[in-house]
């Protein structure tokens, strides 16, 4: 690991100032000279691998007092960005009213990592692409723009089939983000000019021609909270992986349904493990809305979700796996007792 300046931010203004002071105009957030430290489970790991090389670390954990609330009162949910994954997953109201959130968190990482990792850091975690994580590979457009992509013709079993470009096929690795995007979450961002909010769906950027730019956050901006309107008791998170626990998704599905008198009034379908960014399958949702559930409908919705999927040498299995997972998740959600 390279040496860095450690700083502790005791209020949001201080954190924002320290992070933006270090920002060079032409650097994307992922290359910014100063990086915020929350749980550290991605940052310290990638610094040890020499993938991330910040000259300064701004420890924002002292902000937890104001930024880690879990507010479930009424019809709106607000989650502080520094809330720990384990605390949110274990919260009785989250389990009851938002099972898709509780399970997306519970099925991620290990108990130790969930105790450390925060919600804000979780959605900002970097890809697990093995070529991105190993600097002995010279060709990674995400690490070194314009250098190529070793995964295209390499071992790409874990890589994405949706949202890819000819520059990058790295998978977005998280679970919680799929729940957020499915439930139309809003993300609150704190920066130099105070706080602003935007749809969570606008946070991540597909790789396109700039895989090194992963989000719309600017250096000096921090996620401070997430919020969701309404409750989604009929929701599930299913995750298929190489081992039963403590593993990233090969394919995952976040499903939320609003069913009244047997008719699907609203449907939310988001996919993980298969796409370059948190992925909303709106084509599948459109098929489901206004119809009565049956297994044929679930199958058609699953097919629609993967209609644009593009497999490569080792990852085409994710398309059939992903469809089956979506169909099963829809069946589970539709038969839940709520």
């Amino acid at each position: 690991m390279r040496s860095f300046l450690y700083q502790r931010a005791t209020d949001p203004g201080m954190a924002v100032q320290a992070l933006s002071a270090a920002a060079a105009a032409n650097n994307p957030l992922t290359q910014a000279a100063a990086q915020p430290l929350a749980g550290g489970t991605t940052l310290i790991d990638l610094m040890k691998l020499d993938v991330m090389r910040p000259a300064a670390i701004v420890d924002i954990n002292p902000l937890a007092q104001g930024w880690s609330g879990i507010e479930t009162g009424g019809e709106k949910l607000r989650l502080g960005a520094l809330a720990k994954m384990s605390d949110v997953a274990a919260h009785a109201d989250i389990q009851r009213h938002y099972p898709v959130i509780a399970n997306s968190l519970r099925l991620a990482a290990s108990a130790q990592l969930r105790n450390m990792a925060t919600l804000g850091g979780n959605v900002m975690q970097r890809t697990r692409c093995s070529y991105f994580r190993d600097i002995s590979y010279q060709n990674c457009n995400k690490r070194i723009p314009g250098s190529g992509c070793a995964a295209m013709d390499g071992v790409n079993r874990m890589h994405a089939v949706l949202g890819t470009s000819d520059q990058c096929i790295a998978t977005y690795p998280g679970d919680f983000a799929q729940a957020l995007i499915a439930l139309d979450a809003t993300v609150e961002i704190t920066g130099k000019s105070g706080t602003r909010s935007m749809p969570f769906a606008q946070l991540h950027k597909a790789p396109g021609n700039t895989p090194d730019i992963e989000t719309t956050l600017q250096p000096g901006e921090l996620i401070s909270a997430f919020s969701i309107r309404g409750r989604w008791p009929r929701s599930v998170y299913l995750k298929a992986r190489d081992r039963q626990s403590y593993e990233f998704a090969l394919s995952s599905a976040a499903i939320a349904l609003d069913v009244q008198d047997g008719v699907i009034r609203d449907a939310r379908v988001a996919l993980g493990g298969v796409a370059t960014v948190p992925w909303r399958a709106r084509e599948a949702e459109a098929l489901l809305k206004g119809r009565k559930f049956d297994n044929g409908l679930a199958q058609r919705a699953a097919d629609a979700a993967f209609a644009d999927a593009k497999g490569r040498q080792h990852n085409s299995f994710k398309i059939s796996l992903g469809k089956r997972l979506v169909a099963r998740a829809l069946q589970q959600a539709s038969t839940m007792e709520v």
Partner: protein, 203 residues
Amino acid sequence: MSDNSSSKRSGFDRRAFMAGAGIALVPLTARAAVQDPTPAAAQDPALPVEVTLRVNGQDKRLRIDARTTVLDALREHIGLTGSKKGCDHGQCGACTVLVGDRRVVSCLTLALAAEGQEITTIEGLATGDHLHPMQQAFIDNDAFQCGYCTPGQIMSAVACVKEGHAGSDEDIREYMSGNICRCAAYPNIVAAVKQAASDIMKG
């Protein structure tokens, strides 16, 4: 890959940043300032910094590099080598300790970020010669072969019981999945956690 080539490409120069940082970041506490209060020197990341870690009920005052993890602080600076370094990337759980009452992987926890919190290691579990019920349960159930992962397994298991995740074999397997045992002593580890959970419950 050389640092120079990537620095040029990104338009970012570490040396220039560090030179400028002394002025830009003065409002933040300079943690290295204890020995030399001048701002420029205080901001030099190559200098050791002072930190006090509270480990097993005792304050340990250390002068360390900012890069030092809790694991390295314990093993290399404090002399507590019970916590083990397996992968050093948060994947194996051999370094598990409690920070506050939570289990964490100490290899991904910066020592500076753990200042002011109570750290409990495997060495802090027993009361004198009286083993913690979880330690006794691992012995009773032969829950290890080589023993390298065992301190992490035991610390993780103590937290697992406290969290209420030791109610069934299935729960124990799921909530102990962050601790890898390459000797595959898993069946006996599950038995040990079950035994200790019931011992702890009985008091």
